[in-house]
């Protein structure tokens, strides 16, 4: 099997980007873009102009959609390289890989997503004291905890940019997890942070819904988070026994 990989290359942040085209051959129909990047880096190859391909810089850790490191644009749409099966992703035989655009580029496909963590710090999105989760909050909290902090939702969001005070869906997911168990002492402050940094900035167009590589039920969590933090419905995260979804 063969695919033309087009990779947006930059040696560093200041470099002029150029698209490098590589004819990549593979044997297994399940081969992912992540595998191809490792393979090319390990074994070397030449591009379609016969130039040797310099090591492609990209972020990778788990190779199985669990860490969010490898988020990039795949044919223009944000996704994970390890979730991208080449055979399925190819359009007219081409898979184009580019770095996410909402974050500063470090080199090739690596971007600096520090702002996501900084934003969570600014919201003080952590438990300041030990707390107990009762068993009825399990399912929604579990869904929220599947967020990889990959940033794909931020990439697609019309309202998010790295400099803005609107922190986007990734921050809302961390908030959801927290809101379900938040101790009394943190409520006032955190509800406020949630309103300012998420609720008031989100246009609720849900452009982010179908992009999430973790497949989180964003809409459902949002309804519950808003109910808890904005409308102060204490039991927003408690799924009552009889209404098991």
């Amino acid at each position: 099997m063969k695919v033309e990989l087009q990779i947006l290359r930059r040696a560093n942040a200041g470099d002029t980007p150029r698209l490098q085209k590589i004819l990549y051959e593979y044997k297994d129909a399940q081969t992912t873009a992540a595998f191809a990047l490792h393979d090319i880096n390990e074994n070397g190859c030449t591009d379609i102009d016969g130039e040797p391909v310099a090591k492609i810089r990209w972020m990778c850790s788990c190779m199985q959609k669990k860490c969010g490191a490898c988020a990039m644009l795949v044919n223009g749409i944000p996704g994970l390289a390890c979730d991208t099966i080449l055979t399925e992703a190819a359009q007219n035989g081409v898979v184009r890989l580019e770095p996410l655009r909402k974050f500063p580029v470090i080199a090739d496909l690596i971007v600096d997503r520090t702002v996501m963590m900084e934003n969570l710090k600014m919201m003080r999105a952590w438990l300041a004291e030990a707390t107990k989760a009762d068993e009825t909050v399990g399912e929604l909290t579990y869904d929220a905890s599947r967020c990889l902090q990959c940033g794909c939702c931020l990439e697609i969001c019309p309202n998010f940019c790295a400099e803005s005070s609107f922190f986007g869906m990734s921050a809302a997911m961390s908030s959801s997890r927290l809101l379900s168990v938040l101790p009394e002492s943190q409520k006032k402050e955190f509800f406020r942070a949630y309103r300012i940094h998420f609720y008031e900035g989100c246009g609720k167009s849900l452009a982010c819904r179908n992009i999430c590589p973790a497949g989180i039920d964003i809409e459902r969590l949002l309804v519950n988070s808003n109910a808890a933090a904005v409308w102060k419905r204490q039991k927003a995260f408690h799924v009552r026994k009889e209404e098991k979804p």
Partner: protein, 359 residues
């Protein structure tokens, strides 16, 4: 200590105590473990070559149910068997649920080392095919919907198989490193000023590890290490700092050689080990080493590999994850920690008594 951020390339000098948290040494077996490709094993190799001791480097946990996906081994959670998944192999063309027959009480839910070993044994049998399957077809739709939805999505995505309808071929795969950088109860390594916590160090698990309790090393151990560091700066002042490798480096540079070493290691450090295969592995390792010149960072990896093989050869007994077919019994005189140290360029293996409360 001089640290280079591997993404930005920024170099920063830090003073004071250092806590190493570099995880299990997946990169010693590239593509063959369930863990992250970020944990290159480079940190452990570099420190070991500078005299930092290792504990129990021979103790590797093989998880019974992993699947090969693009570029790695992917874990199939134990919960799949917890919910009723059954392991079988085709014997004479018919499914043989070997775990249920061999261990009527716990069956498929025996500890990881036992299941992995039995899988290895049944795969070697002449009357069996060399492939073990995990049969999940009997699980209820309720289970798939609420408990194992992620697993099903993963199997569909990466294998193109729906576990509700067909059995999943599984294989033993390296999952956890019980051994690593040797630390004391305060998480100090043998080098003053240097601490280690989490899976990179050898502290809590001994020869085996039950699922779920790496929290012990990563969270509890991390806290102990942090407490030690916060309360003790006496050592920091004059501590000899380990030399870090600040050259832009990706394990990919040496990929071929790292893979060659890993194949040699797998030959000696499989689920079932014996003196002869370990001897052969050591011999192959020396041949590879003598075949050409290597940069220092590769030399460190050779030394680490040698320590793992020598430790497995020295432990002439079976215990936990370390199974020797030539010494199948547990020998109480080996109820000790294996200590590997690199002295004058050579690897020494000794055994240290357990602290009294553990013995």
């Amino acid at each position: 200590m001089r640290i280079r951020d591997s993404y930005t390339g920024e170099i920063t000098d830090y003073s004071g105590l250092t806590i190493i948290c570099s995880g299990g040494m997946n990169g010693v077996f590239p593509g063959m473990t369930t863990g992250t490709s970020q944990n290159s094993g480079h940190v452990t190799a570099t420190l070991f070559a500078q005299g930092v001791q290792l504990g129990n480097p021979e103790m590797l946990q093989y998880h019974p149910t992993t699947i090969g996906i693009s570029g790695k081994r992917c874990l199939v959670t134990e919960a799949a068997r917890g919910e009723g998944g059954r392991l079988y192999i085709l014997r004479g063309g018919k499914p043989w649920y070997f775990m249920e027959e061999l261990y009527p009480e716990l069956g498929n839910l025996m500890p990881r080392d036992v299941v992995a070993r039995e899988m290895f044994f049944v795969r070697q049998r002449k009357d069996s095919e060399n492939q073990v399957y995990l049969d999940l077809t009997g699980l209820s739709s309720e289970t798939w919907q609420h408990r194992l939805s992620d697993l099903r999505a993963e199997l569909l995505h990466y294998l193109g198989k729906d576990p509700r309808n067909e059995p999943i071929p599984v294989h033993e795969g390296i999952h956890y490193f019980m051994g690593g950088i040797d630390v004391d109860i305060q998480h100090r390594t043998s080098m003053s000023g240097l601490l280690a916590a989490g899976e990179c160090c050898c502290q809590y698990h001994g020869a085996n590890r039950l699922g779920g309790n790496s929290m012990l090393g990563a969270i509890y151990g991390g806290k102990i290490a942090a407490d030690t560091a916060a309360n003790d700066d006496s050592a920091a002042e004059n501590a000899p700092q380990p030399v870090t490798d600040n050259e832009p480096y990706a394990a990919e540079d040496d990929a071929k050689c790292i893979r060659d070493i890993s194949h040699i290691l797998l030959g000696g450090l499989g689920i079932v080990r014996d003196a002869e295969t370990l001897r052969q592995a050591l011999q192959s390792l020396h041949q590879l080493w003598n075949s050409r010149e290597y940069p220092v960072r590769m030399r460190n990896r050779f030394i680490l590999a040698e320590a793992m093989l020598l430790a497995a050869a020295a432990r002439k007994e079976s215990r936990g994850a370390h199974y020797r077919s030539d010494f199948p019994q547990t020998d109480p005189s080996f109820r000790k920690t294996t200590v590997a140290v690199c002295e004058n360029g050579g690897v020494q293996i000794r055994f240290r008594d357990l602290p009294e409360e553990e013995a």
